[in-house]
């Protein structure tokens, strides 16, 4: 069965999700699944231990809800407070099929938009459930006191968001993620007070413990003292967010990393669609070599801002205000008249890149390296212009809608967007890939659950705006508490893991060895230096546009860089203390391996879909061309062992409730 393909990976057996009850129509599956699930008697719940890694929307909500049910929960995170998880940074909003605007929205339409937006690479059952519980999320958050925007009548306000034609997005100015996370955090702290949840701040999960094929615990490093500990449980939930930082520069927080899911992958959990990366179209362009991260400007800006570049390259260094209307190319409105500036992210991003590649980008030229390693100066920016909106609505109305974003833009760039158009450019933002999970959000390792951005499930090859927050909270508040009961009921019979099981000591030893090996490095280059180099490879070859030969080149370069790391890196400080270089080094090692898998996945998928644009697969007009005949599946990768090729398992995607169509926004 296993055949070596391309010298890079093995072809494994097909897999499928068996947990969604297919004997009932899609609208009844979730009810049916909940009904079929075993329950745990309230008095027995406190005997069961659950580890939740992550305190973002998914982890915070999961830990709070499981705690509320009476399970004995331990919640781990690397920040100093649960409230600082990366979900805090989400700006734009959260979708829900409430149809408060009477504009034709419904559970089915949200389901339909999400599957289409994901370019038909998401699983129908999971997405339908997401749309179904979306309305409960808003109820839950409002009851917790999340201060969503309201209208004068006292009811909730909505707006529309990229890629959809109804107003179903709930928001709290430009701080929706913050407000939702504070809601989940408060629910979590309530459980800490009640004694059902114990928090482990500044603790990093560095290994998964698997005993007799089941997830039984984790190994952590206390980031203040350096102490390495094992924690055992009856089930483990990973809610550790995305891995966009493999690109070094991204809109993700500095600490975002792949370690938790990568360690699980190495213990046998399948990693699905690793190459699916979302590039967000409205970020502040990079301004120099020293840059540590990129800043997102909320996509809601596209509701009123118009995107353009000069028609002629000669005009690119002019003051934009002096370029007359007839010399501006509002390219999205021109190419996609039905959606205009609100086309989905992948399309908006790629067109911005095309404009800059054509030499019509704006802003200062910055140094970049092309695929052959040659340096060139390129302008990487397009205008996002509010002058028309200011004329139409008045400065005050624009400021009421976007004031805080304008302020943030001005603070970072020094330019006043009320006077001069903003400059934006795409940046790595979200990873749709993640650990493979079934309908229950359980990975193929029994007892290992994965939720939020860390799993692969709901977004396909491209994520629509305002749907990640929805997924995180749906998973944490409404899905896991029901599906985990089923597993935990079994564990009650199964009994506790033997603390002397050799796998536990072995997991711990492997962590200690790794720390020791890292601390012994005595080279000349810093961890950040290597991370930056990895990021450049990934952005160049596995970024917005990918080609066969580029991806092969990248795999070679990544391997070489990793070897170089072991030869020439140096870790400062000591192991048994707060040591940020050591933390980063551990994460980088996992990024090296993940980066290679991302390139292999991108290489094997010889089609363009969503955020994954293969140059070899495009329509005559340069749009992404999918190949449903060949690639209508989830690519679930299995770790093949140290220096061995990974094994590809395909899960066929079956569309029964939605007709497959070529995605068009024209």
């Amino acid at each position: 069965m296993t055949e070596l393909i391309d010298g890079l990976y093995l072809q494994g057996e097909k897999i499928a999700d068996t947990k969604a009850p297919h004997d009932v129509p899609i609208a009844q599956r979730w009810e049916q699944r909940k009904f079929n699930a075993n329950l745990v008697n309230p008095a027995n719940r406190r005997k069961l231990d659950v580890i939740v890694v992550g305190s973002g929307l998914a982890g915070g909500a999961a830990a709070a809800s499981l705690g509320e049910q009476g399970y004995n929960v331990k919640c781990f995170f690397y920040q100093d407070s649960a409230r600082r998880a990366h979900s805090i940074a989400a700006q734009g909003g959260i979708n829900a099929a409430k149809n408060y605007r009477n504009d034709g929205d419904s559970v089915y339409r949200l389901f339909y938009d999400t599957v289409k937006g994901g370019d038909y690479r998401a699983r129908e059952d999971n997405v339908y459930r997401l749309a179904e519980v979306s309305a409960n999320i808003i109820d839950q958050c409002v009851a917790q006191g999340v201060p969503f925007a309201r209208e004068y009548g006292g009811l909730l306000d909505n707006r529309s968001f990229g890629g959809v034609q109804v107003s179903r997005t709930f928001y709290a100015r430009g701080q929706t993620g913050q407000q939702l996370l504070i809601g989940a955090y408060q629910a979590l702290e309530r459980q800490v007070h009640a004694g059902t949840v114990k928090e482990y701040r500044r603790h990093e999960m560095v290994e998964l413990i698997v005993v007799d094929g089941r997830a039984r615990g984790i190994v952590t490093r206390d980031m203040v003292t350096g102490k390495i500990d094992t924690h055992l449980a009856d089930a483990v939930v990973l809610c550790t967010g995305g891995y966009g930082n493999v690109f070094f520069l991204s809109t993700n927080a500095m600490g975002c990393n792949a370690t938790a899911i990568w360690r699980a992958y190495r213990k046998g959990a399948y990693f699905a669609n690793p190459c699916y990366t979302q590039i967000h179209p409205t970020c502040i362009p990079q301004s120099g070599d020293f840059q540590s991260k990129l800043t997102l400007m909320s996509e809601s800006l596209r509701n009123d801002g118009r995107i353009w570049v000069p028609k002629r390259a000669e005009d690119c260094d002019k003051d934009p205000r002096e370029i007359p209307e007839e010399d501006r190319d509002y390219y999205l409105e021109r190419i996609y008249p039905a959606f205009g500036n609100l086309v989905p992210r992948d399309i908006a991003s790629r067109q911005a890149k095309n404009m800059c590649d054509e030499g019509r980008g704006v802003g200062p030229a910055i140094k970049e390296r092309d695929a052959q390693g040659n340096e060139r100066m390129m302008r990487r920016g397009v205008y996002l212009d509010f002058s028309e909106a200011i004329g139409r609505l008045g400065r005050d109305a624009v400021s009421a809608r976007y004031g805080n974003l304008f302020e943030m833009y001005q603070r970072i760039t020094g330019d006043d967007p009320y006077e001069v158009p903003m400059r934006i450019y795409p940046a790595v933002h979200y990873t749709m890939g993640g650990l493979w999970v079934d309908y229950d959000l359980e990975s193929n390792i029994p007892g290992l659950y994965v939720a939020g951005e860390a799993n692969f499930s709901d977004h396909g090859a491209n994520r629509l705006g305002a749907s990640a927050l929805m997924q995180g909270l749906a998973d944490g508040y409404f899905v896991l508490p029901d599906t985990m009961n089923d597993y935990l009921a079994d564990m009650l019979r199964e009994g506790k893991v033997d603390p002397d099981a050799p796998e536990i000591a072995e997991a711990r030893r492997s962590v200690e060895d790794r720390v020791e090996r890292l601390m012994a490095l005595r080279g000349t280059r810093s961890v950040d230096d290597f991370h930056m180099a990895l990021g450049r490879i990934m952005w160049e070859y596995c970024g917005m546009e990918r080609r066969d030969e580029g991806l092969r080149e990248a795999i070679g370069q990544i391997r070489a860089l990793k070897e170089e790391f072991w030869r020439d890196a140096r870790i400062t400080g000591e192991a048994m203390e707060l040591n940020q270089a050591l933390e980063k080094a551990g994460r980088l090692l996992d990024f090296f391996e993940l980066a290679e898998l991302m390139c292999i996945d991108a290489l094997h998928r010889r089609e363009s879909c969503g955020g994954h644009f293969r140059a070899e697969s495009q329509t005559p007009e340069g749009e992404a061309l999918r190949h449903d005949d060949e690639f209508l599946y989830v690519a679930a990768w299995e770790w093949g062992g140290e220096n061995q090729p990974p094994i590809l398992h395909k899960e066929d995607l079956i569309y029964k409730d939605i007709e497959l169509k070529q995605r068009s926004y024209k």
Binding site: A172, Q178, Q179, K293, G414, D528
Partner: protein
Amino acid sequence: MNIKLKIWRQKNQNSKGHFEEYSMTGIEEHMSFLEVLDLLNEQLFAEGKEPVAFDSDCREGICGQCGVVINGQAHGPIRSTTCQLHMRHLAEDPSFKDGSTITIEPWRSTGFPVLKDLIVDRSALDRIVQAGGYISVNTGAAPEAHSVPVQKDKADAAFEAAACIGCGACVAACPNASAMLFTGAKISHLGLLPQGQPERLARVVNMLNQHDAEGFGGCTNIGECAAVCPKSVPLEVITRLNRDLGHALWKGQKTTA
């Protein structure tokens, strides 16, 4: 521009700290303050010295993880988080010259022990929230969101208070090391909403007791907190807190378990 940095170095919670000075050249004005520290760390690395430990995560002014005292001011001279401070903002100060010295210290307060260099432990703020900074609603038990309308001005005022990012600058700036702006922000956020009414009086008593138990000082209306707050949480939140507290004491509200 060329600058000197005078930075607090402290190995761990139990050791004594001291200042060290470093010179840097070629700093560009559109660099953020934390990127200057990144650069300093690359420089220290090249010299074979241990980098300066400091906290940051989002670097977008929203997570509240960064935060140091710069030239005596929490988060530096403009009202923002440390990660959103740029060198051009420092250079706008007329006393700033080429070669100026910038002093950088961790948050100063007994409630926030230093863990290393510029990193402090702010878990006391979480414990204040644990004492009652929430609305008790079990998952799945919530009424339909539109069943409770909220007056827009109340919702806006609640939002203003809810904007607190828990950075702790208010504590660092306060001569009494009081965390009243932080605590008041939560009390205002929840107390202004209809959903927050049932637990309103118990909340203020419970949270304040915890605030005092953590060793934070009382508020004597100095106002330094609101002046440095990067999210412009208004001083009014403390007035509201005091009003609720008065009300609670008058009603004989006791702490709840």
